[in-house]
Symmetry: C2
Subunit: 409 residues, 2 copies
DNA sequence: CTGTTAGCGCCTTCAC
DNA sequence: GTGAAGGCGCTAACAG
């Protein structure tokens, strides 16, 4: 009889604990209660403070606890019983290292943690590695925040929903039952492109953020766009294409200045060099339908980078080729990351409230956990004019058509 | 009778769940078993795969689960029963934002996550906010990694020890029962200082990493050193002082180029300006005992920054004052962070294997959880000569005493 | 103010 | 290959 359970078979069994049995059944609330001569529930109250208890009794309990070196309830048991662990899961799209290298991600994480204030227990970092997804389904947390995640999470989301785990998605596509915190990526991108257009640029290329799981620097093709799964880059591209229809360029492997540099070289040197460091095909200049004006597909006079990191790389590439920014080349970014080391440049970019996004997500989580039904949140970007955008070298300085350029396709 | 427990009082009670009761007692393994016409234990086997089960039976169970939208065991219950949650806690000294801005911390985190591979469940980020410490004591995790933490964690460590939670400390002081992963900070720092010395520098100042909880840029005083709680900065200082006895300078508020910049201005402009932007007292030059050679406490000819970020800031400060690096000023860092945007400079620094540190910690955690007793780990730094260190403008190029300079105190 | 009682959801030894 | 039961450690109703 009596199925003897030993959930902690580590000690005696495995390792050769040399010291004299430091764990003859780890002290438990029951043990403390017994030693203090009270019932477990009373002891529980002594620790949680929930319910009333005589000071004397509590002292007795606490002293017994001290003697037994009992420091408080086991978090695991507590979380089972209460149905709450205090942990908020943050699901990152990428390997941790990539996420951490992106100042926007970091800002968002900081915002979340600001609002959650670690009184909740902490942030559990998870990654959606695609296959398996196991960790996200088997991890202990009360609420989940998805950070720019792809639709492959569908199943995990279903599981969470079934478990009544509130979910918030930042910059992801819409999922039913998942609160959305997002940016006006498309509109902002249009505004930025319009800014470039108004300066007179007609030969323009884009360096886009990754659009799918395949992390590789390559020319932006229709297939890639068609199969894209990343909302942010898609929206930013769509926005720019409202001004520059058919805008072409490169897709980066990730948001890094190294990738921006490589793409920049391809775009700026590639026109002549043809087949530089990896990109096989074309996709330079204003791509398919170069807007009104010169249809000559020469070197672009402006490059729209979908992130500031990429933009920084592009600027470096330009300078390494002897081009001056913005005199010879206009470069604009996106994010407002305030990347240091840009020498004298003040990057022209769309500033997004990254930390605020995180804070909003954190607040939403709090409300959801309290049973509320907060609404979706939208943020707007603001144009930072900066000093890296100027009229093209040879263009008419005052062209100002505000309507989209028609596609030539 | 029958104390009716409802650990999840959220639904009906609080929020006005309008939809038709999506959670009439969330599906559980017992429910699945009943529906499949088997016992719970059999159903459990169907999910865990541990134990033998007829294929037909398993299919029946899985189908029943699908029908009930049961997606697998509840992580909370599982973790209580098994005594394992799969979560590894990472305790950061600072607010998340500070940690995330430090490339070394990020590299370490990446190393940890590489080795833990998220099959374990994920990294739980916790911060040692000093007061309370509650979150670390009440959070669910199986093992803890402390990242450069101060001794204020003593109590939390005691709790973890009592709970049999394996602990690994990276770059922290020694704690009993906590596996240590560390760097030869002191020795490396000495080597770097010697390098500077060998170049002929005698007027030297340090920009130190924070030494205690008070995050504020201020002159390095004896009190600060005496009360220091951060092992890394202490060790690096001690190492440098073996070459430059009594080395003085500033303590930064955190490892950032902004702080480096501010400290740089104080050190380089401060000698004349006296009381520039906040630092009241002296602490410039080679401090108390300016080493052999000129005892004139003028502007330093070399600045030893305790991190690359700080060094970058110092370089910017120097250049903003019209000083050329390294012709007019030698600047050395520590870390090997490869910070971008340093223009043409290649920072002279001690390169530390940060990712490796994280990996080692991750591996140690794995072994400890498996019941092993892995040893402490030590890593060495390598000097990267770089291009930001050169002989001082007016110094004899070939001074080469290898023994420490005696203190004048 | 304290004790009793009934599980949270699952796993696991033991018997069949 | 499957079923039956005990309990991980704790908390929340209720009764006294």
């Amino acid at each position: 009889m009596s199925a003897n359970n030993q959930p902690h078979p580590v000690d005696g069994a495995r390792s050769g604990e040399s010291a004299g049995a430091p764990d003859p059944s780890r002290s438990t609330l029951a043990g403390v209660a017994k030693r203090a001569g009270v019932s477990v529930s009373t002891a529980s109250i002594a620790f949680s403070g929930i319910g009333s208890i005589a000071t004397a009794t509590r002292d007795r309990v606490l002293q017994a606890a001290a003697e037994l070196r009992y420091f408080g309830p086991d978090p695991r048991a507590r979380s089972l019983r209460q149905g709450r662990s205090g942990i908020v899961g943050v699901v990152l799209e990428d390997r941790v290292i990539h996420s951490f290298r992106d100042p926007m991600t970091i800002a968002v994480l900081d915002g979340i943690s600001q609002e959650l204030g670690n009184e909740n227990g902490g942030l559990l970092l998870l990654t959606s590695t695609g296959i398996g997804e196991s960790s996200i389904q088997s991890a202990v947390f009360d609420a989940a925040v998805f950070l720019g995640c792809s639709p492959r999470l569908t199943r995990s989301i279903e599981v969470m929903r079934q478990r009544n785990v509130p979910m918030v998605a930042i910059e992801a596509q819409h999922f039913d039952g998942v609160l959305s915190v997002a940016l006006d990526n498309r509109e902002a991108s249009t505004r930025l492109a319009q800014h470039v257009y108004d300066l007179g640029h007609r030969e323009v290329a884009v360096v886009a953020l990754p659009m799918d799981a395949l992390r590789q620097l390559r020319p932006l093709t229709d297939e890639i766009v068609a199969d894209a799964t990343t909302a942010v880059s898609m929206d930013r591209l769509a926005g720019a294409r409202e001004v520059y229809a058919g805008l072409g360029g490169y897709v980066a492997a990730n948001s890094s200045s190294d990738d921006g540099f490589a793409a920049g070289l391809l775009l700026l040197g590639g026109a002549d060099v043809a087949g530089g460091a990896g990109g096989s095909g074309g996709a330079v200049g204003a791509g398919a339908g170069a807007g009104a004006g010169s249809s000559r597909r020469g070197r672009p006079t402006a490059i729209i980078a979908q992130s500031d990191l990429l933009a920084v790389g592009v600027i470096r590439a330009a300078e390494s080729l002897g081009l001056r920014v913005p005199a010879d080349l206009t470069v604009v970014g996106f994010d407002g990351a305030r990347i240091e080391g840009l020498s004298d440049h003040d990057l022209t970019t769309m500033v997004q409230p990254a930390t605020e996004k995180g804070r909003a997500a954190g607040r939403a989580v709090t409300e959801l956990l309290a049973g509320g039904h907060p609404p979706d949140v939208h943020f707007a970007c603001t144009l930072h004019p900066g000093t890296t955008a100027a009229p093209p070298p040879t263009a008419p300085p005052t062209a100002r058509p505000t309507s989209p350029v028609p596609t030539s396709t």
